[in-house]
Each structure stands twice: as C-alpha cells, then as structure tokens.
C-alpha cells in the first residue's frame, strides 16, 4: 500500500520574511509565535541582542528610541502580572507607546471576541501586538488576521517563547554555555507551555534535557521529543546542572492529576535533600509565580543556588530584544 505524501505541519510557527536583496536580516521572521521554527542562529542572535538590553537596563538612563513613534498593544486574555509588566517595561524602554488590554475571558464570548478584537485592534494600526491566550493556537489564529507583528506571550499549553529565551539567557550568563549542559524540567510538563518552549530551545542550543514528573503530568509521546523521561525525581536529578521547576496549578493538586499537595511535595517538590542529588554547582530556576511548599521549598527558592530573581530581570531584556528585532521588519523600520 502506498502512503499519502507525508505532511509536516510544524515548521511554520513564524512567517519568514523575504528581505530586499541587500542586507540580510539577522532575524528572518515577522512574528515570534514560538521557539519551534527558529534556527539556532535565530535564537543566538536574540540572546546576543538581549545582553545589550541587560546592560542598558542597568544604567540610570534606560531609554532607547528604537520603537519611538511605534504602538505596542499588550493583549492579555489570561491574567498575568509579571509577563505583562515585563513586556510593558520592555516596550517603554525602547520608546514605544504601550497600551495594555486585559480581556477577562469569562466576560466575553470566547473566540468570537478573539477575531473581532483582532480586527478592532488592527484598525487602530498598532505596530506590535503581544498576545496571551488560554487556548493553544489562538495566537497563530490572531496573527493571520492582523497586519502587524505578533509576539506570543503564551498560548494555552503550546508555547511561551520569551520565557524560554529568558531562561536560555539566564543559563548562558551563569554557566557560560548551554551546549552539553544537563537540564531537568520538573513537574507539570503536561500543561506547561514553558516546558515545551524550553525543550525546543535548549535542545536547539545543544543541552541534554530531562523531564521529571508523575506520569499523569507528562504528555503522551514526550519521549519522542528527544528528552529523557523520569518519574522518579531522585533518579532524574542525578548529575543535573540546571533544575527547572514548573508551577502546579491549584485545580490540579487535589485528586485530579496528583492525590494531594502533601504527596506531591514529598515526591516531586524540590527541597535541599533532592537538590543534593544534582550536580554540586546546580542552579535552580522557576518561571513563577511559585507555589512555595508545593513544587519548591522556600529554602531553595531563596537559596544561593536560585536564579529565580535573575530570571525576572532577564525577562525584560529578552523582551526588549524581541521587540527590537521584530521592529526591523516594520514598515520604514
């Protein structure tokens, strides 16, 4: 029996832009919809650009004019404090006019509003829209309906590219490299867009990625992502250079995916005891917001091995870098 020709749907996360014959663009995408579809060079270019933004953000004068006259809309269908403020600050430091729109998903008829809102916002002629939505693929849908650049600030359990970039930057600055590092991503991988984006990014940069969690919180087919899978955290942490914890949503704690907080912390919470099994110089990360005493103990979260606060700083820098490279594709940009 002959097969139909195989179809590969997964490499169109970002729309490549044909540039004029002259200068090759460093970042050949109009949108940032995911890490999937980015090359190693794309990712490294973004991280390099972020370093400059880190330096800028540590000065007294933190402003640039790259986005002067540009309009950036932060469209959040899901509540978010840190990501939204991080994008807001990034846009403002680059001189953009930033508008925040929070659309509580309960008060609107879902989806219909997404397309309608996209059309409405598009009519206001923004240059960049930053979108978070609770449904996977929603940002792609929106990107098809607008004329400006779109940045995915998290879509369902699909991708959260700027989080993976800021994690990559944090690791690179602290370890000097990503290539060859052993990274453990622990906890609720099933529902985590952070995990998906990080797996793709870290592997693209040459890290060896492990995922650790109870089987009820691991996606089907995860072993086909090229990661090592562990359900025993103690075994999984052995020799790891980076321990990346994920947030466990409250509604998944009591009986639906894991029996109880107590049991979860006992077997999958990061405490000093378990961290001791990782490499002696292992560093700990968490995308926030943390559930102290659920997936991570306070002692570790605030301890010497924690990079959690630095991640927040890198978040602003990475988002500045993303906005800057996308701005090179804007008309007259």
């Amino acid at each position: 029996m002959r097969a139909l020709p195989p179809r590969s749907p997964l490499n169109i996360a970002s729309t490549p832009v044909m540039t004029a014959a002259s200068a090759p663009t460093r970042f050949p995408h109009r949108h940032l919809l995911g890490i999937e579809g980015l090359s190693r060079l794309d990712i490294e270019a973004l991280l390099d650009q972020s370093e400059a933004a880190v330096a800028l953000s540590r000065q007294v004068e933190k402003k640039r004019t790259t986005l002067r006259g540009r309009t950036q809309i932060n469209l959040f269908f899901e509540p978010s404090t840190r990501t939204q403020s991080s994008f807001e600050l990034a846009g403002k430091r680059l001189g953009a006019d930033v508008m925040n729109m929070s659309v509580a998903s309960s008060s609107v008829k879902k989806g219909e509003t997404l397309i309608d809102t996209a059309a409405t916002l598009n009519a206001m002629r923004p240059d960049i829209i930053v979108v978070r939505h609770h449904a996977a693929g929603a940002v792609h849908l929106l990107a098809r309906k607008v004329d400006c650049s779109v940045v995915n600030a998290g879509d369902g359990a699909h991708e959260h590219p700027t989080q993976a970039l800021l994690d990559g930057l944090t690791i690179r600055r602290n370890k000097g490299r990503i290539e060859g590092l052993r990274v453990a991503i622990c906890g609720d991988v099933l529902h985590s867009r952070v995990a998906r984006s990080n797996i793709i990014l870290l592997q693209a940069l040459g890290a060896r990625v492990r995922v650790i969690g109870p089987s009820t919180l691991l996606p089907t087919g995860i072993e086909r992502f090229g990661v090592e899978v562990f359900t025993d955290m103690r075994k999984g942490l052995d020799g790891c250079d980076i321990v990346m914890m994920l947030r466990l949503q409250r509604e998944r704690m009591n009986g639906s995916f894991v029996p109880s907080v107590k049991e979860y912390f006992r077997y999958y919470g990061l405490d000093a005891d378990k961290l001791a099994l990782a490499a002696p110089d292992a560093l700990v990360m968490h995308p926030g917001p943390m559930n102290r005493g659920v997936e991570i103990s306070s002692e570790i979260a605030d301890g010497a091995q924690s990079l959690i606060r630095e991640q927040v700083e890198m978040g602003v820098a990475v988002r500045m870098a993303v906005l800057e490279v996308l701005a090179t594709h804007l008309p007259n940009g």
């Binding site: 179809r7 996360a13 999937e36 879902k110 989806g111 449904a135 087919g221």
Partner: protein, 434 residues
C-alpha cells in the same frame, strides 16, 4: 414518464462487482433493462444519453449526514444537503437525529420525510434517536418510529454511555429488527480532548483523545451484542485497535458491522497542521498508521461502509481557537472525490470502494437500491473517475463551507446523478454526445 437510455457506459454493479460496457434502460423510475455489451431495445420517444464510456454505477448511499433541519437551517437544510449530495453522486442520505427538536418521535420523522419529499432532490431517510432527547436515559419508540419511516437508530454525535440503557435498547431493538448505530466514543476518556492523543497533540499543546475512548466503548458494546444477540453497527471506527476488535467479533459470528468516515480514510492528524479547525473531527483524525489500518480493513471487508460524516458548521463555530471550535466537516459533496483517492493511489480496487459506498449500506438498511439490477430503483451516478480539479469551497452547494478538502487536488467526480430515473445533477464537466 418517458423512457431514458444511458448508453455506451462502463457499467459496474457494486453488489456483484460485475463490470463491462453496456447500457441501461430506465422506465418509471426503475431500471427496466440492462444490456451488458449490447445496445438495449430502445422504446420509441425515449431520451438517450451517450455516456462516453464513463463509469455508470449505483448512486452512493451515505449512512451518516447531519442536516440542520429542523432547528439549524442556517447551517444546512434538507434542500441544500440534498443538492450537495446530488452533486457528489449521493442518491440516498440518512440524516441524523441531532436536530432541534430531536428526531425521537414519529411526528418528527413524518415532518422530515414530508419536508424531504417537498424540498429534497435525493432520497432522505431519517435515523431516529435511540434515547429520548438524545439524553441517554430512556428508549424511544422503536416500533412506531420504524413504522413512521425511521430506517435506523442512533444518538448521533453521542454514544449511549449507560450500559444498562444500551443493553435494553439492543434487546428491544432485536425484537423489531431495528438497526442501532452507535457513535463509539467514551466521553469521560475524551474529556477535554480535541485531537488524537500522541506526539502531535503534545507538540501543539492540545489535549489528546486516546484511541481507548473508542476501543473501550466498542469492546463494551460487543460484549452487550454477545449478551443480547442484537444487530449492532459501529458508526465510525478510526484506529487499528478498533479494526481488530471488529474483526474478532465478526469471526465469532456476531451480528456486528461498522463504518468509517471518509476523512479517516484519506486524512491524518498531520492535516491539522497549525490548528486547522476544519480538521477537528469526532472521531479525530489519527496517525498515518491508523489510516493504513482502516484502509486495509475496508479492503478486507472488516469495515463495511464508508460514510461522509457530513456535519455543516458555520464561521461562528469554526473560526475559533482549535480547542474551542466545534467538531465536524462537510463531506457529502466530496465523499466520492475524496474516496477515489484510494483508487488512484492503488490502495483499493474501484469495485470494493463502490460496494462500501452503495451496495453495503443498502444491504444494512434493507433497501433495494445500491445495485444494478432490473427492477431496482434507477438511483444511478455517472462518474468520470479521472477528471482532475482543485476543490473550491465557495462552489460547494452546502450552506456551510467547512470542508477539509478546500483547495485540495481531487480526481473524479459525478457527471450525472439520477434519483428514481430523474436527473438531479449534471456536472459542468459533462458533455454528452446525445
């Protein structure tokens, strides 16, 4: 009614597989004569159509089509569904009871039949609900519904999940010789799932539907068939494991049959690409290995019929993020063209495909259509199996446009469709010498 002669055709009887050049004489809506090889006696004043040696066979019979009438006429009416059917070479469609009101009482069956008589150009046969209001609790009046004209019983998009209700329905249906068609899907295992469970869903960040949602329900039902001895038809199976379950049941001599959606025969989960909601279906598109398994099962006769699973949805229910969009795809007009892909790829002989599209469903329903035989209704379709085209959803006759085959390259279409001897569709591609 004047006689009609369809001459110079390649005849293929899907009931027997007999194939050869010949002509068909139609009188009073029925096949009056079939001349294999020779020209038939032509009555005076008869109309003649030269078929140009194209394929002439029985019209397609689609056991699973959702029509919006009554209740959702903005999506599809009996008139628009039947026009789409005719254009696709489908001469009989079985409409699902998922209407508003639900087809769960004789008066509604009667309404649908009368509306169809007045507005539809193909034969419309209503399937009635197994349970009142599709609620899965109380049986409908199988006897009275059959008398009113219901040809089968199904809860449409839903499975009868309560095993006791299903057991009683099967037991009672046996006494009336009624055909139960179950949508084999265990809703608790589907949960929030929106596409096939596996690597692809995990990469897209979508919740998966395990194959076990289908196999658990199928195995349970087959146990109940063993218990009750009733006839049972699994409306659509989608994966290799289900094929094995049905194969075993048939080997054990149980009165079990099953169907497959044309979508699961020619598409796989990869067609979802980046969240194409037109490929959000129930059962979901599975892997290429599963697609191969169902194609093979159709070849082996484990799967009896191909259905279009025609389910018109409008922009408001489809232009949404994937997880929030409605299930379902248009299918009846593209059923033939899509299914012919299997013939063109060499996966299936034409005769086998046409049997699954007409003779087998006719047999399941106990209808006399679905065969080329003297005395049978002149429900016929003239097919150019090779004509290539790019499908344009705007040209579809359906009121909705949610076709997963939009812009697909297809080969093969209905040139002429006849229902009861009356021409209900003539393709723009078809130029008769007559």
């Amino acid at each position: 009614m004047t006689a009609l002669v369809l001459s110079n055709a390649t005849l293929l009887d899907p009931a027997t597989g007999r194939e050869g050049l010949g002509s068909i004489l139609i009188e009073d809506g029925r096949i009056a004569d079939i001349a294999w090889g020779t020209a038939p006696g032509t009555p005076e004043n008869s109309q003649k159509i030269d078929c140009g040696s194209l394929l002439l066979t029985s019209g397609l019979i689609d056991l699973r089509a959702f029509v919006g009438e009554p209740g959702a006429e903005h999506r599809e009416t009996l008139a628009s569904a039947s026009a789409a059917a005719a254009a696709g070479g489908v001469t009989t469609l079985v409409c699902m009871p998922d209407t508003n009101p639900v087809i769960d009482g004789a008066p509604i069956v009667d309404f649908v039949l009368r509306r169809a008589r007045d507005t539809a150009c193909v034969t419309v046969l209503p399937a009635a609900a197994i349970t009142k209001g599709l609620a899965g609790k109380e049986m409908t009046e199988f006897g009275l519904l059959q008398e009113a004209g219901a040809v089968a019983f199904t809860d449409g998009l839903k499975a009868v999940t309560n095993a006791q209700v299903m057991r009683r329905a099967l037991t009672y249906a046996r006494d009336f010789g009624a055909l139960l068609m179950q949508h084999v899907e265990e809703p608790d295992l589907v949960g929030e799932g929106v596409m096939n469970e596996g690597e692809m869903a995990s990469r897209l960040g979508l919740t998966g539907i395990p194959r076990e949602a289908e196999t658990v329900m199928l195995e349970r039902d087959i146990r109940l068939v063993r218990l009750t001895g009733a006839r049972y038809h699994a409306a659509m199976i989608s994966c290799a494991d289900s094929v094995e379950i049905v194969r075993r049941a048939k080997q054990d001599g149980l009165p079990v049959t099953c169907g497959v959606s044309v979508n699961n025969l020619v598409l796989n989960e990869g067609d979802i690409g980046h969240y194409r909601t037109f490929c959000k279906l129930s059962p979901p598109l599975r892997t290429e290995a599963d697609r191969h398994a169902v194609v093979q099962a159709l070849n082996d006769g484990v799967i009896d019929v191909i259905v279009s699973d025609h389910n018109p949805q409008d922009v408001e229910t489809k232009r949404l993020p994937f997880a929030e969009a409605a299930d379902g795809a248009l299918g009846i007009e593209t059923l033939l063209g899509a299914a012919l892909r299997l013939v063109h790829t060499g996966d299936m002989p034409l005769a086998r495909l046409l049997a699954a599209l007409s003779a087998n469903p006719a047999k399941l329903l106990g209808r006399e259509a679905g065969r080329l035989a003297v005395g049978a209704p002149a429900d016929l379709v003239l097919i150019d199996t090779d004509v290539p085209y790019v499908l344009d959803k705007r040209a579809l006759k359906s009121r909705s446009k949610n076709s997963p085959f939009d812009e697909a390259r297809l080969q093969g279409a209905a040139m002429l469709t006849l229902v009861g001897g009356r021409i209900v569709h003539r393709s723009d591609f078809f130029e008769s010498a007559a």
